[in-house]
Assembly symmetry: C3
Homo-oligomer: 306 residues x 3
């Protein structure tokens, strides 16, 4: 399987076998993440965040440092300088001289793919537009496999903002490569985009619901997402749905005992703090899993693991 010099733009570019291979590599990284390594010594990772995301940026930087590499980059740019694709093209052709691998986060759809086309070094999509966040989806899959021992055969609910959340789009697609039952749970105005839904329904069973209560007793994995204020055209629209999708101890009384609760973070009100200490909570473990998943990706792309 060939990952060397490969771009990671969308999980749609990868087969199930390839995704499984990435997850296996992440698993190999667990002890290395603790001990440190010089696998990528002398290599430089550039993190170009045209849209701020402290968590994703620090996660990649931590992964690179644990592999013995260095990092350079920026965490924010004034929108003026990133409007034109032409500028992004030049930026990539400059930064490819500075670094061996580049992570790009960008507010526009398609920007990461465009960036990859212009750069001669491999590019990882650190989140672009509302569509793709492939490394988040990979760490989600890794968490499910690590916690449940498998992905096939599970019943998994994706809950919250399924329309604007970039995380759930990448994850829903990735899960459609496995034999799972999916529940999409959202208020109607935030339901999964039709094109994504149709695409996935061709491969696996998907049921749409609008209440958490309807599915809480049935699922092995409950994947919550934040309902982001900034995605709504009108504040009033946000007020209507805010807080309708909230996990607390009362709701969890009806959950399966071994149901695991995931969230890409940051959470606002959709998971009550009281839930953090329950046997269901795995959202902080996801953060660690993000480190090892990204370590695995970096090692594969740099050709240090085959």
């Amino acid at each position: 399987m060939e990952f060397k010099e490969r771009d990671i733009i969308s999980l749609k570019d990868f087969s199930r076998a390839e995704i499984d291979y990435i997850l296996d590599t992440a698993s190999i990284m667990e002890p290395i993440a603790h001990s440190g390594s010089d696998l990528l010594s002398g290599k430089i990772l550039a993190t170009l965040f045209f849209e701020p995301s402290t968590r994703t940026r620090l996660s990649f930087e931590s992964a690179m440092h644990r592999l013995g590499g260095s990092t350079i980059g920026f965490g924010e740019v004034e929108s003026s300088s990133v409007k034109k694709g032409e500028n992004l093209a030049d930026t990539m052709r400059v930064v490819e001289c500075y670094a061996d691998i580049i992570v790009v986060r960008h507010p526009l759809e398609g920007a990461a793919r465009l960036a990859a086309e212009f750069a001669s070094v491999p590019v990882i999509n650190g989140g672009s537009g509302a569509e793709e966040h492939p490394t988040q989806a990979l760490l989600d899959l890794y968490t499910i496999k690590k916690e449940k021992g498998k992905i096939d055969g599970l019943k998994i609910a994706l809950v919250g903002d399924l329309r604007y959340g970039r995380t759930v789009h990448s994850l829903a697609y990735a899960l459609s490569l496995y034999e799972v039952n999916l529940f999409f749970v959202s208020p109607e105005m935030l339901c999964m985009r039709r094109e994504v839904l149709e695409d996935i329904k061709e491969k696996i069973c998907v049921i749409e619901k609008d209440k958490l209560d309807d599915i809480i007793g049935d699922v092995d994995v409950l994947y919550m997402t934040r309902i982001q204020k900034e995605r709504f055209p009108e504040v009033a629209d946000y007020a209507k749905v805010r807080g309708s999708y909230r996990v607390d101890l009362k709701l969890l009384e009806n959950a399966r005992e071994n149901m695991i609760l995931l969230h890409p973070l940051p959470r606002v009100e959709e998971i009550a703090p009281e839930v953090d200490d329950t046997i269901h909570a795995r959202y902080f473990q996801q953060v660690w899993n993000g480190i090892v998943t990204r370590m695995g990706l970096l090692a594969l792309i740099m050709g240090k693991i085959e």
Copy 2:
């Protein structure tokens, strides 16, 4: 003495013996700071500065690099995302996956302690609210001991903004563990907070003054602080005291020959540039001492020196 995995939130958590041990460790770091080291190779320091402070952040980063470690972090955050303790809690539980040790600087009182409670990795307070700045106080103590050979027996004046300055609160407390005579010199509206004063007076002799002239001939250590405009509710209040506490060559004519002059920096007008070349000035040496003190702390907390 056990420092491994310990948080450094307030000097009130430490005995005199422990503080002396930290100062001795800082001393051991002097040659290592020049030669470089791989003592913390593979370790990651996160600097989370919710309030900008280039000096303190760069000092910690420099200390970490000299020990062979890596750094990640951010230097500023929009206030919106740090308002709620709940958010800080989640941030710490995320960043503890990215780093082996975390420095937090935060505008709110108590934020560093809260951060430490939520993080499973050790947390160092890089300045919180107007109350605490323990690593600054440690480097001040280290400077005094290095320059005067001892702390006990000295006459030390803390001058300027004793009300709002976080540095003097930590330092005054730390000095109260030694057998010193303290002078607090400030305009009345910036006098040392009563609760701090009472606490310290139980242990050592403290004299309050409102003129530099009154004490300049008596002290071994003159510790100046900046009178910060932004601490004043009214600009007019600032105008009244601005410049009243200023060290220049004329004032120093009455100083003891071996009196040393300290300042946490940045200074504005409270020390005239002409003073920089006198035998009294030690404020730039403090900067270097900050590196070795922080190196010592990092090495102790990571369990690499016992």
Copy 3:
């Protein structure tokens, strides 16, 4: 030849022999830039960018990492804290404790030289005011020498904003040390400053033109620069000249076959994207050459190459 501990503020401080030596050292760095090195292991570079410049900052950081060193610094400061030379002096005396070498970028003329005077560690000018950008000029020279095999005997045109562009001032001076024919091509209101012109004319042949067409068939090197909107007092003045100096395929029909086209980047409209794939374009190679040139400088200044 002695470079150890030397400041790099202006190319006027260097002889032709010294500049040639720097270019030769850059050449030695080419394989090391690819393989990585531990030549500056344990050393710390501080990048103090009082004015944002992502490209120059990342270039220095990449150079330092490729030599095995570490970096600290900041990429932007509110203008308020950098107004007074006094403050810059203190900043330098602080940062010299944190780092072994310091790169300063500053909006004011003379700031880099002032910074170097106050710092006890070597300072590199990363661009100051509208006058100097010595490392850009060095990488430009390196590119010309690498591509053409020599500098002496060439006909070189500097085009665009010759009045406000800091790059062309440093480069024009440096080229005057070689036996070249220079063309200065600009709109009248952006013509080369008289004092620079007089200085250079004493040493080499300079011809001023105001049309690209007049010189396109005669030159070996065409050095384009951006006409920066922010340099104009009036927007209307900018509108008049914007786009008058543009290289496209049509213009290149009249160019010599082995003419090379350079640009310090970022470009806006002065080089059409269609030109990127022509045999003339070398502006992205300049970026790489910037890495090896800066590596060479860092190694020389730190005394690791003699």
